[in-house]
Symmetry: C2
Subunit: 229 residues, 2 copies
Amino acid sequence: MSRTDNRADREVVAAMSLGVREQVVDSSRADILRAAATCFMERGYASTSIDDVARSLGATKGRIYHHFPSKADLFAEVFRAGMDMNYQAVEPYRHLPGPALPRWRKMAMVHVVQMIDTKPFQRAVWIGVEMHLRGATTPAQREVFNELLEYRSTYGKLFRETLLQGREEGVFRFDDMSIANQLMFMTLNSPIFWYSPRVGETRSDIEAIARQVVDFAQGGLRGTQENPT
Amino acid sequence: MSRTDNRADREVVAAMSLGVREQVVDSSRADILRAAATCFMERGYASTSIDDVARSLGATKGRIYHHFPSKADLFAEVFRAGMDMNYQAVEPYRHLPGPALPRWRKMAMVHVVQMIDTKPFQRAVWIGVEMHLRGATTPAQREVFNELLEYRSTYGKLFRETLLQGREEGVFRFDDMSIANQLMFMTLNSPIFWYSPRVGETRSDIEAIARQVVDFAQGGLRGTQENPT
DNA sequence: TGATGAACATACTACCGAGTATGTTGTCAA
DNA sequence: TTGACAACATACTCGGTAGTATGTTCATCA
């Protein structure tokens, strides 16, 4: 209930003039977060040592512990940063007026592109959710985690509403809303596992990949026309 | 290149009469594998200690190390057991004659039900694939892992052929075969993450869940009818 | 029936990694 | 210019864990 309170807000305005000193500090913090995200992605949470993160920065533990009180807190900040990116990416489109399908497609596209562009952070988010589901982390850190999971849950609701509207409009068909939601996010998130950049890859190449993912999800949400077997 | 050579074959015939002594031994081994799979599922590979596995059996390290030379080998055996289960489940249907769609649906259904029934082992397989992709494990264990990944690749080909046939027959439409394959397996495997048994759940309840997953995958493989946006 | 070995348990070592305590350097403000 | 503090680096502690070395028990077989 403190210390991490308004971190997100500060990051948002980080680019605004805050004096050179603060900018340097936040730049160093951001560097650590990026390095940590990459390490967590490559080795997982438990197998990533603080020394690993420091080494990938050409630094030592001292630098990390100067900015973050513990490994769990560092991880939590990476998690939060990843969620912030997602939220800011889809937020502009959540209130697009009109039918559900085009809005859903826009949100889904932005989401998938975000998975590709910020893969290390999104993998960390995934790891964090997995850890929470199996009840890792101490009771103390549990509190921080619960807030982050709530954050994620809120993000999920952005899609949930559009899913429901889409079902009413007949573009989506599914029995269990919960399962459909799981399957949809599983599909949209999957690039964090199998995507890796190709040499000479352009922006439209990435969008083509994202489009195929979104098409798959859309087809999945519509389900089979008639039910064989 | 020894000691684990014909383990799989032996497990297959484990139920046959091999003398009481051998049955007891393999039973103890199987108990360890089950316990290990559950532990790996609950805490991941790195965070699972041999003592954890032993404790969940009401035993000590001695028992584990008597049957498995190392933690990595124990994990590899869990991996192999999971893949064995999958292969034996879908193998009877891979050569079903006729059009691709019904065969694909049967294979997919069996696969999904298998994910639900043997979730701990399948999570271990997932963890193993993740570990391999980021290059964990020592060069020595790498050899064993490569064989297991080859095994998994072979399993994937069972579906690949049917996917191609389905595309030719017009029931599936996708640009990139590799991506379609990833998305399909991502969907079919996803219950290992979000499924958890409900009280009083019947066999047909599980099949209803599996059907919804297969429907989603089928719709995804067919893609959108016309491509909006 | 005594010896042998499988199937464990117990006790120990060696190392790694999170966290801490304490230096060191550069910068800014008075 | 000097003192204070931020931003690190260095050097340590200490708990946990993989792996090992050594008992112990019980069944089987010669």
